[in-house]
């Protein structure tokens, strides 16, 4: 069998094996997909993190205020004739907050418990107080403020969910690379599959390259699936730079494979390596800034994130999808580090795991 045929056969076998392994299919395709659907639904593609429904009751003696005087982005306002109905609707959760304007007071009614909405409602209080006072006192604005949003990347309109979704693609690449090598070099070794491979005329490097190419194919498939679903389901605003995108997927997959290989080398038992990888995966989900913006967290989280490879992959992914900008030097620098670490560790593993005892 010539080398190319060998390589193609191995690649084909690994790809088929991946699709036949339910656990791997789940972690590679469905696990990131579950997060994509859940977080996509939570944030819904709007720039504002949450949309608020508010009801207001204005005492009839205050003639100068109308619904038009109250306006805030992301807030749906409805007028109430009776205070009691307003209270009832807040209580039942039909609206997020009620605003009562009477006797020189503005009363904000809301239910405790929704942490994201509470912070928005608190911000809203001052906005409406200002707007009400402006209307009642017919305040002439000395300073007018115009707000503009600036896209940090090439996409013209970027929402908060776009930031998250680009990170979710990074997570799927992490999952694809990390767990596959544990399966190949950990479980295959324990089950004696590698010994049988060594006994055949297959070149160790062909075997490793076959596994890597198969993994790259899976990574591409997952990334395209995510991009498509994201656009179809949540109307994402990605502007994909295709060449850097391909480069990022290749380098990141290799980089994440190298992380898995480090674990396989440290932990001789595949199950332990798997457990540590899963724990690491979960830690990275929280600390990489994919789901929760690191800017809003205590500084210590930013320092921890610096040691999480997925943070860098997420940055690359945001760049290639046009969500956020990074310098080309940084882009190539991170990619080269991921690529070199991947190549070196794959070579070491080929020698270490595919050498006769």
């Amino acid at each position: 069998m010539n080398r190319i045929k060998q390589f193609l056969t191995i690649s084909n076998a690994f790809t088929k094996e991946t699709f036949r392994n339910k656990v791997e299919v789940f972690f590679t395709f469905f696990f990131p997909l579950i997060f994509l659907v859940m977080f996509g639904s939570f944030f819904g593609g709007s720039e504002e993190p949450s949309n608020i429904s508010a009801g207001f009751y204005i005492d009839q003696s205050i003639e100068k205020i109308s619904q038009d005087d109250l306006h805030s982005e992301g807030v749906t306002l409805s007028s109430y004739e009776e205070k009691e109905t307003l209270y009832k609707d807040v209580q039942e959760g039909s609206i997020d907050t009620g605003i009562i304007v009477e006797n020189g007071k503005i009363i904000f009614i809301y239910k405790e418990g929704d942490i994201s909405k509470t912070s928005t409602i608190k911000l809203l209080q001052n906005t409406y107080k200002t707007q009400i006072e402006e209307a009642v006192n017919q305040v002439k604005k000395t300073i007018e403020v115009k707000n503009y949003s600036v896209s940090l990347g090439e996409s013209e309109k970027v929402s908060e969910s776009d930031f998250i979704m680009a990170g979710v693609i990074a997570i799927s690449v992490l999952s694809s690379g990390l767990f596959s090598v544990i399966s190949i070099f950990g479980y295959y070794k324990e089950k004696g599959v590698l010994k049988r491979i060594i006994a055949t005329p297959i070149q160790p490097m062909n075997f490793v390259m076959g596994a890597t190419i198969s993994r790259l194919l899976i990574s591409f498939l997952t990334a395209f699936l995510m991009l498509g679903l994201n656009r179809y389901l949540f109307g994402s605003h990605f502007t994909v730079k295709w060449f850097p995108f391909v480069l990022t997927i290749v380098c990141s997959t290799l980089g994440m494979m190298s992380l898995g290989l480090v674990l396989v080398m440290i932990f001789t038992k595949a199950r332990t390596a798997d457990s540590v990888a899963t724990a690491l995966f979960v830690v990275m989900l929280f600390f990489s800034g994919v789901y929760f913006s690191l800017d809003l967290l205590p500084q210590v989280f930013s320092y921890i994130a610096m040691f999480m490879p997925v943070k860098y992959v997420a940055e690359l992914m945001r760049f290639v999808t046009g969500v956020e900008n990074i310098s080309w030097n940084y882009f190539f620098g991170v990619n080269i580090i991921l690529l070199i670490s991947g190549i070196i560790l794959i070579q070491i593993s080929a020698r270490r795991f595919l050498r006769p005892d």
Binding site: K22, V23, V25, F26, F31, I34, M38, G44, E48, Q91, E92, G93, D96, I106, I107, F108, Y110, K111, E112, G113, D114, I115, S116, K117, T118, S119, Q125, N126, K129, E133, E134, N137, V139, K140, K141, T142, I143, E144, V145, K146, N147, Y148, S149, V150, S151, L152, K157, V158, E160, S275, V282, V283, F286, F292, S293, D295, L296, L297, P298, N325
Partner: protein
């Protein structure tokens, strides 16, 4: 009875020797609680002292003098080491926007040319002047911190307008701002995210045991042929099932003790977490979720299939059950699932028992829906009993 306890001991030892079992049900809840309280306690309140200092870029298109220095004064007042802003000046708008794009600043505030004269006219000829200063705030699209910084800045400028108006008019009507919070907590204390999260992590802990230690262990034992060997001894399927269930309860108990100890050492939740209603709700949740785990074991043959089912169920039950954040207003495409899952009701039951219920679901339903799940689980498990226990 002796064989029952010997079997239980064996199963239990086997379980706790597995790193994964210990990690997911005993260590992970502690880690998760720490991480989520650190994250959400910060995000939850804009008045939180944990809010980082916001980087403010300022472009003055003319040097401020005379009445224009009022704006300088305001910017100095809101900037400093203690926040909310840390100020940096840029020569022009292009330079400032570049800094915003390079993430050096969170927002850019542009004071336009003609501010000095317009400010003077506006203040001196207030009643007749139509002059106003149109300032600009630029924020990074989609970035939480930048949107927050922009909102706060806009509000500060609105306040400045009101202040100017107030000082120049005796008949200014000032409105008093009040809050009326419909408390989910029955106590007088204000809402505390740590207390809100505590029941969520308890359900997560029970879920980990019920979904991973339960069905996976039973199927693996069956796949490896150990159950068949056990049945050649005096051990009956009922004894084996009993020992498995006792093992799972023991794991839940130990995990709870570890989690409670951590919370008591590092957080101040008071005695509320020891109230009888809360403890009973934990027990009820354990029964329902253990039943759920057994149901998964009853319709999956292979360990790998059970693993996939357990993983999917775990993610859905955790995130759509509202264990960590409220889910009652997500789009209906997913909300129906929220109302169908048992964890939604169980976590709400636990929260209600400590006065932190956030939904308007009737208490009877908090028992009833999980009860229906439990019944369905028992029926399915019983119907497949022989197959699950591996003695067909």
């Amino acid at each position: 009875m002796h064989s029952f306890f010997s079997l239980f001991k064996g199963l239990f030892k086997n379980e706790i020797r597995d790193f994964q079992a210990i990690a997911w049900c005993m260590i992970f809840p502690v880690f998760l609680f720490f991480v989520l309280t650190s994250i959400f306690s910060n995000i939850a309140g804009v008045e939180s002292s944990g809010l980082p200092v916001l980087e403010l870029g300022v472009v003055k298109e003319e040097k401020l003098s005379g009445f224009g220095t009022i704006i300088d004064q305001i910017l100095d007042d809101i900037s400093g080491d203690n926040g909310p802003y840390k100020q940096q000046t840029y020569e022009n708008k292009v330079e400032g926007i570049e800094a915003l794009k390079n993430k050096q600043i969170d927002i850019l505030f542009v004071i336009p040319e003609g501010t000095n004269i317009k400010m003077a006219r506006a203040l001196m000829t207030r009643d007749i002047s139509e002059d106003k200063i149109t300032s600009e705030i630029y924020h990074a699209a989609g970035k939480q911190i930048s949107i927050l910084a922009s909102n706060i800045m806009s509000q500060i400028m609105q306040q400045v307008n009101l202040e100017i108006s107030k000082r120049s008019s005796d008949s200014y009507i000032d409105f008093e701002l009040n809050e009326e919070i419909i408390s989910s907590s029955s106590s007088e204390e204000s809402f505390d995210y740590v207390t809100y999260l505590f029941p969520g992590v308890i359900i997560m802990l029970i879920l980990a045991v019920s979904l991973f230690n339960g069905p996976l262990s039973m199927i693996e034992t069956k796949e490896s042929g150990i159950t068949k060997k056990l049945y050649t001894t005096s051990i009956t399927p009922i004894t084996y099932l009993g020992a498995q269930i006792l093992k799972l309860f023991s794991l839940i108990f130990i995990s709870l003790v570890i989690f409670y100890t951590f919370v008591l050492l590092f957080y101040d939740l008071g005695s509320v977490i020891f109230n009888v209603g809360f403890l009973f709700s934990i027990f009820y949740s354990s029964i329902v979720l253990l039943g759920f785990g057994l149901m998964i074991a009853s319709f999956t043959k292979k360990g790998s299939t059970a693993m996939v089912f357990s993983q999917i169920a775990n993610q859905k039950l955790m995130f759509l059950g509202g264990l960590y954040f409220p889910v009652f207003d997500i789009p209906w495409s997913l909300r129906w699932l929220v109302y169908a899952l048992p964890t939604t009701y169980l976590v709400e039951l636990l929260r209600t028992s400590i006065g932190y219920g956030v939904s308007s679901i009737n208490t009877a339903f908090l028992f009833l829906i999980p009860g229906i799940w439990l019944t369905a689980s028992i029926v399915l498990f019983t119907a497949n009993f022989k197959k699950v226990m591996g003695y067909e």
